[in-house]
């Protein structure tokens, strides 16, 4: 049995890309994504990864090159963050419709202004409608494992869509954790060779990226949505087979002590580990509190989510992004819209915290739990920004 090694999470993601025998990496440096791409370029430079590394001149070109590379039949990876993701925006909406299964790690970071290099989820939330599969990792092992799963899901011919793997910038990406590295053989047995659904091939010419007139545009968008919604079953199958192959079990929606919980906290990403510690401490004091975590953000795992939260009395939805001009954060909006039609639904409250790298502590989750209980059955007119200085 392999032993875990101490590895920075960014490097674990790069190692996963190596284990997946990726063909092309096109990337532009941005904090806090840099360690991922630095390590990848080292792996290529030292012959540990037989790939083309394209040191592009912007993120817009990074994503454009990735689309071209994936369309030409190469297993393709990139990584970015914040402003870089924003600069890719136009291309992010094109990649899914062209069915190019790119895998992109995002070291999640706040969007400007003010310029800020630290963690929150405003980058990924700005592109949540683009049509990518979206996964959130909680810890280093999960970041490595989900990178491998991402390639498998993206390249599944039923899916053939790009995937974002979200890892919290610095608070996850820069931590050194004990991580189990699978072998190349183990990964090859799990991840079949890339056989593209569509491909630029001189032996069989096709045209990609045609003009969508009013007679075909809507159909094209709907077809992409159908595939994205349908990808959830492929994701679940990929998780199940990962469990079988590597012994680590992942679900679309993770629950922690939530079965009998009166108050459930809903989180995504690395703050969930802090939240679990807070849940343990509150449980010790008799508080009936639990945690539900979304590992899959897109497609939204609606049924799994409803099943996980509908028995609770209170649901405290935690967002890491302010949707300016809207009373609630984006995760809360999804939760509320799904719960509106549910036969039994908890009282939903929304809390935003950890913006721009503001520290998230166990005490924050305790405060949120108390506030959610106090607001139970009452209407909250706007999100509550935890820890804000007035």
């Amino acid at each position: 049995m392999a032993k875990p090694i101490g590895l920075e999470v960014s490097l674990a993601v790069s190692e996963a890309v190596r284990l997946c025998d990726c063909d092309v990496v096109a990337a532009y440096p941005i904090t806090p994504q840099t360690h991922i791409v630095e390590h990848l370029s080292e792996l290529v430079a030292n012959g540990h990864l037989n790939a083309a590394y394209i040191p592009v001149e912007s993120e817009q070109s990074a994503m454009s090159s990735c689309i071209g590379s994936s369309a030409a039949g190469a297993r393709t990876f990139t990584a970015t963050s914040s402003q870089g993701l924003a600069l890719m925006n136009e291309m992010l909406y094109i990649a899914p419709v062209l069915r190019t299964p790119i895998v992109m790690a995002i070291a999640n970071r706040a969007l400007s202004a003010p310029i800020n290099i630290w963690n929150d989820h405003s980058d990924i939330m700005s592109v949540r409608d683009a049509g990518w599969v979206g996964l959130f990792a909680e810890n280093g092992q999960e970041a490595l494992d989900l990178t491998i799963v991402s390639f498998r899901v993206a390249e599944d011919r039923q899916v053939s869509l790009p995937v974002t793997l979200n890892i919290d910038g610095f608070t996850l990406s820069h931590f050194i954790e004990p991580i189990l590295l699978p072998t190349l053989e183990e990964v090859a047995a799990y991840l079949p060779p890339f056989k593209p659904l569509v491909k630029l091939d001189i032996a069989k010419p096709i045209s990609m990226g045609l003009l969508g007139t009013p007679e075909s545009y809507a159909e094209s968008r709907k077809a992409t949505d159908d595939v994205l919604l349908g990808s959830l079953s492929v994701i679940k199958k990929a998780f199940a087979e990962f469990h079988k192959a590597f012994g680590r079990e992942y679900k679309a929606v993770e629950t922690y002590k939530s079965d009998d919980a009166e108050t459930v906290l809903l989180t995504m990403g690395s703050i969930s580990e802090t939240a679990m510690t807070a849940v343990d401490e509150m449980r010790e004091k008799g508080e009936k509190v639990g945690l539900v975590r979304l590992r899959v953000w897109r497609p939204f795992p609606s049924e799994d989510f409803l099943q996980a939260v509908s028995k609770a009395k209170n649901l405290a939805v935690i967002d890491r992004h302010i949707s300016l001009g809207v009373p609630f954060g984006p995760v809360c909006l999804e939760a509320k819209s799904l719960l509106y039609d549910a036969p039994a639904r908890p009282s939903v409250t929304n809390f935003i915290l950890g913006l721009g790298g503001r520290d998230v502590t166990r005490e924050d989750f305790k405060e949120i739990t108390q506030k959610a209980k106090a607001l139970s059955g009452k209407s909250q007119s706007r999100f509550d920004l935890i820890g804000v200085w007035e």
Binding site: Q60, I67, L200, I202, I206, G209
Partner: protein
Amino acid sequence: MKAYETPYAKIPNNKAFPRGLDSLASGHRACQGCGEVLALRLLLKALGTDFIAVSATGCMEVCTAPFPQSAWRMPWIHVAFENAAAVASGVESATQILRKKGRGPDKRIPVVAIAGDGGTADIGIQALSGALERFHENFIYVCLDNEAYMNTGIQRSSETPFGANTTTSPSGSHSKGQTTWKKDMPAIAAAHGIPYVATANPAYHLDLMNKIRRAAAIEGPAYLHVYAPCPTGWRMKPELAVESGRLATMTRIFPLYEVLDGLYVINKKVDSPKPIEDYFKIQGRFKHLKPEDIAYIKKRVDSEYEDLVRLAETFPVPAPIAAEG
């Protein structure tokens, strides 16, 4: 191997014009008399179909590929407006690594990025500069220059010539039309130290076709700047596209030349230029120009042509290269 020594399958004369299907099928929706689609058809025909084409958004993309139809007989991809060079970079890198890993055809596959003047000299210049600087081996970039944003309705670009009337550089009581000089894209491309830069013009069709063949044969990035007469946008009779092309070169407005490893060759020497007025008078976009404006343009056009001659004399190609007639 030096760029100027690289052998390529030159088409010597019209008798040797490539036969068979056009690589760009008929039935596309380009305007009547379009000189841009003529240039594109000839360029693609010269290459056959064993290459991958990448288009920027623009006239040539819109008129050739309305779903479910496509005029492209080779693998073709369009992603967006400003990024043809970056998409082509990805395609080129993918074909190289797949060949190396034994998963793609075991031969060089040219990747041809095609964009208009706006997609090249304005919004696409960053992606183009990046691609040229990275020195992709099988990368050819073709700028089809019709000297304005024609697809959106004749707005000025940095390639619009001085004095031209466009919808965003209108001539009026306080303006001569375009007030800036045409951006010298071939010089910018050549400044990247790439092995091959050339200008071409569909009025000199064999020269045009041979230049893309040469670009495909040379290892390293190539940039072709192609004159693309636009009767619609230039307010010109549709039968005059080729005529305007001949005049553009014979008045020295659009000289035909190559830059091979930094060495200059003028393909069509113009010792006694035709009167520049002949070029202007067939195009409505210049009809407001006064004699003094034309005199100013002529002076600058001649001066730039003489600079080019000096470059060709100072940095000549050692091997003799026949000028195309």
